[in-house]
């Protein structure tokens, strides 16, 4: 009797049920119809059976299980080079092993050819990553961080053995820098390198005394340097708050960590200079010069001003002397000028006085002329009235000596032997006789 199932028990009304073995082979057929492609990635988990080799192709975003028949692998000519950590390009397509009564089914990428990844393959991958990280702005974050010129401690991520470590130390010592170097040793080549380097930079950045981190390794092929192109590592470095100086490979090698780091250098020696920008030896010399300049400036400022003050202190005496000399000169000039001026003025005044007097005389003469003439006439009349000739005209005679000298008394006449009597109309000689004899 057929058992009836409820709707719940029956489940969705899809086609089937089909026999799983049939279905598994159907899957296998569908998978094998997919387009054949090439995959690139790092080989991990390599294993071999009697007939085929197994491995995973992996990158930071995902992984695909792969398998290759040993006879195909031998035709590829890479033999033992197919090992963990190598970058390969696998050609093939999807496959599905349906398993069986005892064997487990397995999905895989059936490779028909495997080759080691060439420079071109890696460069293509690198460029794609570079484009992506740049677009996200991850190249700029580290470059905006402040880099101290004189850090006291720096962290260094590199291989414990190798020339890079030695070169970096030599570079630091050449600058006269004697701070602390904290080594974060890590493998620098294989698939374990990137995670180890990532942990080391994070641990170093977490230490408060670390002011800069150097990530360095020597030269090699791009495949050798591939750990420094790891996307996870580069994202970690980009987000650190401590500046990272990268020096990976040689100058022509440009790994992704160089793009995200604060500074990318071509050699460990240059990385030392970038991590400690200050040349301590040169800085000491410069500081000595500064100290000398300051001392000279201080002493000079006082010395110069002291001399200036001394000069100023002597100034008044000199100024007085100068003024005195100047005054004396002026006095001499004034005196000479005064003498010249006085003479000129006297001459001028004399000329002026003469003119004034002349004018005054002329004025005086002109005004009194008539008065004076009238007075003169009156005086003349009075004078003529007293003239002896007038008296003689009235009948008097004037007694004179013979030489004409008037005789005014009898005694004078008596003393003369001969006298002259002058009348108005002429003279008469006479001889006086004594009074008693008459």
């Amino acid at each position: 009797m057929e058992e009836q199932l409820t709707a719940v028990e029956a489940g969705p009304r899809y086609p089937g049920p089909f026999e799983v073995g049939v279905y598994a082979r159907k899957i296998q057929a569908e998978m094998r119809k997919r387009a054949k492609v090439q995959l690139i990635g790092e080989v991990t988990g390599v294993g071999r059976s009697k007939v085929q080799a197994y491995f995973e192709l992996r990158d930071s975003d995902g992984a695909v299980p792969c398998a290759i028949w040993l006879n195909d692998l031998e035709k590829c000519g890479i033999g033992d080079q197919l090992r963990d950590g190598v970058e390969v390009v696998a050609s093939g397509g999807l496959d599905y092993y349906p398993g069986g009564g005892q064997a487990s089914p397995k999905f895989s990428f059936r490779a028909t050819h495997v080759r080691l990844a060439g420079e071109g393959d890696l460069i293509a991958r690198l460029e794609a990553l570079r484009k992506q990280l740049r677009a996200e702005g991850l190249f700029e974050l580290q470059k905006q961080l402040h880099r101290p010129r004189l850090p006291k401690a720096i962290g260094v991520v590199t291989a414990e053995t190798g020339a890079a470590r030695r070169d970096l130390l030599a570079g630091l010592q050449r600058r006269g820098w004697g701070g602390s170097v904290i080594w974060g040793f890590a493998p620098v080549q294989d698939r374990h390198a990137a995670p180890a380097i990532g942990r080391a930079v994070q641990d170093l950045a977490a230490r408060p005394e670390v002011e800069a981190i150097v990530v360095t390794r020597g030269g090699g092929s791009l495949a050798d340097l591939w750990a420094f192109c790891d996307e996870t590592l580069c994202r970690t470095v980009a987000m650190l708050r401590v500046p990272v100086v990268s020096a990976v490979g040689h100058e022509r090698d440009r790994t992704l960590i160089d793009d995200v780091a604060a500074v990318a250098c071509s050699t460990p020696t240059h990385a030392a200079e970038a991590a400690v920008p200050l040349d301590c030896l040169a800085a000491r010399e410069s500081l000595e010069r500064c100290a000398i300049s300051l001392r000279r400036a201080g002493e000079g400022a006082i010395g110069t001003r002291s001399r200036h003050l001394s000069a100023l202190a002597r100034g008044p005496a000199r100024a007085l002397q100068r003024e005195r000399g100047s005054l004396n000169q002026k006095i001499r000039e004034i005196r000479a000028a005064a003498e010249r001026g006085l003479a000129d003025r006297v001459a001028s005044q004399t000329r002026k006085g003469t003119v004034v007097l002349e004018r005054a005389r002329n004025r005086a003469v002109g005004a009194d002329m008539e008065k004076r003439q009238a007075a003169l006439r009156r005086a003349l009349v009075a004078l003529r009235a007293h003239e002896p000739e007038r008296t003689l005209e009235r009948g008097y005679a004037l007694v004179e000596r013979e030489d004409g000298e008037p005789l005014a008394s009898a005694a004078e006449v008596s003393a003369e032997e001969r006298i002259s009597l002058r009348f108005s109309d002429g003279r008469v000689r006479a001889r006086p006789e004594p009074d008693g004899a008459a």
Binding site: K152, I182, W183, R207, L287, C290, A297, G298, A301
Partner: protein
């Protein structure tokens, strides 16, 4: 002690070696220009001497020979010391 405190009081402690050197260069330029008066010159000289002292101390800190430490050792010490830490 009092003396050193008094010496430092006119100028603040520089933030960094770079800041100290930058200020020192400004001071030297100003003094070289001959534009500073006596009081300013003496103040600048005093500030400059303090900055030189600071820079020399900073250089001395990295002048005693390079010290090498291993991150692994530091991490181990941290782990060993952690139970005792408060």
């Amino acid at each position: 002690m009092d003396e050193s405190e008094r010496d430092l009081s006119p100028t603040a402690q520089p933030d960094s070696y770079e800041a100290a050197v930058e200020r020192l260069e400004e001071i030297i330029d100003r003094l070289d220009s001959g534009q500073a008066g006596l009081r300013e010159t003496l103040d600048l000289c005093k500030e400059g001497r303090e900055l030189v002292k600071y820079c020399a101390a900073e250089l001395d800190e990295v002048g005693e020979g390079l010290k090498e430490l291993r991150l692994d050792d530091l991490a181990t010490k941290l782990e060993v010391g952690s139970p005792e830490s408060p």
